[in-house]
Structure formats: structure tokens, C-alpha cells
Amino acid sequence: MRIELEFYGPIQDRMGGARQAAEIDGTPATLDALVAQLAQRLDGGDYLQADHLRIAVNDRLVDRNSKLALAEGDRIAFLSPFSGG
């Protein structure tokens, strides 16, 4: 299954850009499982497991241990710590 990865903030520099596509094996049951698979598969993917990143699925923040019903074309965004204002 093909999904879209998005990177916001400093993480862009580590992942080499703001977005990239990824091919996923099977259907990871939780966000944690998906991230573990990406960590192995992508260049610099280890960093995706860093605690301080927040993760959004199709523009909604999701807890890492929450159940995942991933579908083709879903967008997974990795968000560096926010620094607004």
C-alpha cells in the first residue's frame, strides 16, 4: 500500500524534504507499528521514533499507540515541536 509522508519543521532537514511517498507492507495495526516499519525502511527513518515528534493522520493528531486503519493514499505527517507566536 502506498502512503504519503509529510514533514513539518526542522525534521524536513533530516528527512531531505517536506514530503515523500512510501510503500507499506501489510496493514500496521497501530501508529507505532507503522512508524517502526518506516524507521527501518527510510533513510534517517530512526528519527521518526523520537518522542518529541507529533504525528497526524490525514491532518488529525493521533496518539502513537492508537489503532490505525490505514488506507491507500493516506497522509502521515510528522511534526517537529511547534514554535509559534
Partner: protein, 152 residues
């Protein structure tokens, strides 16, 4: 009557216009505001704020709704800029109206403190062609968490 206005814009914030945006009702006793500006330092060329195209405005709105309720405000305005800004330009402008001063003052402090760590923005400082990302400070996290811990 409670009134929440959220503006997220790539244009320069027009502070005098924003100051007139909230209704001047006779039951408002106290108005507090906060404005954050790009602080010029060490040859800073520009500050760039990236936002999330879908998530940032709802996050600002959620922060505003909690503040309205928590401090029993009559009105709250949150205006936040994104894009590239020159030193001196306003980044964020917050106005709280309440019957009493403590509510208005606390609501403004709450909103800016929480917004810093809970609204999806990312900052980059430009010095001519070099950009560095600005990570939130420990102080930012502490100040936000003091409000957030008491929230649940």
C-alpha cells in the same frame, strides 16, 4: 455573549484595524492585549513562519475556545501571521475582553503561552541566505505546561 475571532494570514497584521475588530460594549470593563514582534538581532534578515495548511487554524480556534470558557471572557481575538517577516513586523496579536481585569490579563498570558507550544507553527531565522530553525525553548514548554496541567 461570547465572541471568538481567529485570523491566520500571510499579510502583515494591521494592529489598529484589529484593535477595532471587537465590539466596544458597555459591559466590557477590561481589555488586555499582547503583540509579539520579530525582534531584530545579529543581522537577522527575516523570520519565516511555516504553518500547517489544515491544522493550524483549528488549533488556534480550539485554544481560543478553551480560553473564552476558562476565563469567562466576553470576547477574544487571536491574529497570527505566517510567511516571511522583516524585523519589527508583528507576528501575533491577542486581545481579551472581560468584565474584570484579572480574567483579561490571565487570558492573554494563557493564550500566548499555550499557542507557542500547541499551535502548529515552525520558525526559521534567515540571515541573508542562511536559515536556521528555531526550536521552542524549555521556558516556552514550562510556561505552557503550567496552564495545561491544570486543564484536565
Amino acid at each position: 455573549m461570547t465572541d471568538l475571532r481567529v485570523y491566520l494570514t500571510g499579510e502583515r497584521l494591521d494592529l489598529p484595524a484589529l484593535n477595532k475588530a471587537l465590539p466596544d460594549t458597555e459591559t466590557v470593563g477590561a481589555v488586555a492585549s499582547f503583540t509579539g514582534h520579530v525582534r531584530g538581532s545579529d543581522g537577522l534578515t527575516a523570520l519565516e513562519l511555516t504553518h500547517h495548511p489544515a491544522m493550524t487554524e483549528p488549533a488556534l480556534r480550539r485554544i481560543g475556545e478553551i480560553a473564552l470558557k476558562r476565563f469567562a471572557l466576553q470576547a477574544l481575538l487571536i491574529a497570527h501571521r505566517h510567511g516571511r517577516m522583516a524585523p519589527g513586523e508583528p507576528i501575533v496579536h491577542i486581545i481579551a475582553q472581560a468584565p474584570q481585569r484579572r480574567a483579561a490579563l490571565d487570558a492573554v498570558a494563557y493564550t500566548i503561552d499555550v499557542l507557542k507550544t500547541e499551535a502548529p507553527f515552525w520558525k526559521r531565522e534567515w540571515r541573508s541566505d542562511n536559515a536556521i530553525w528555531i526550536e521552542p525553548t524549555i521556558t516556552d514548554q514550562v510556561e505552557a505546561s503550567q496552564w495545561l496541567e491544570t486543564e484536565t
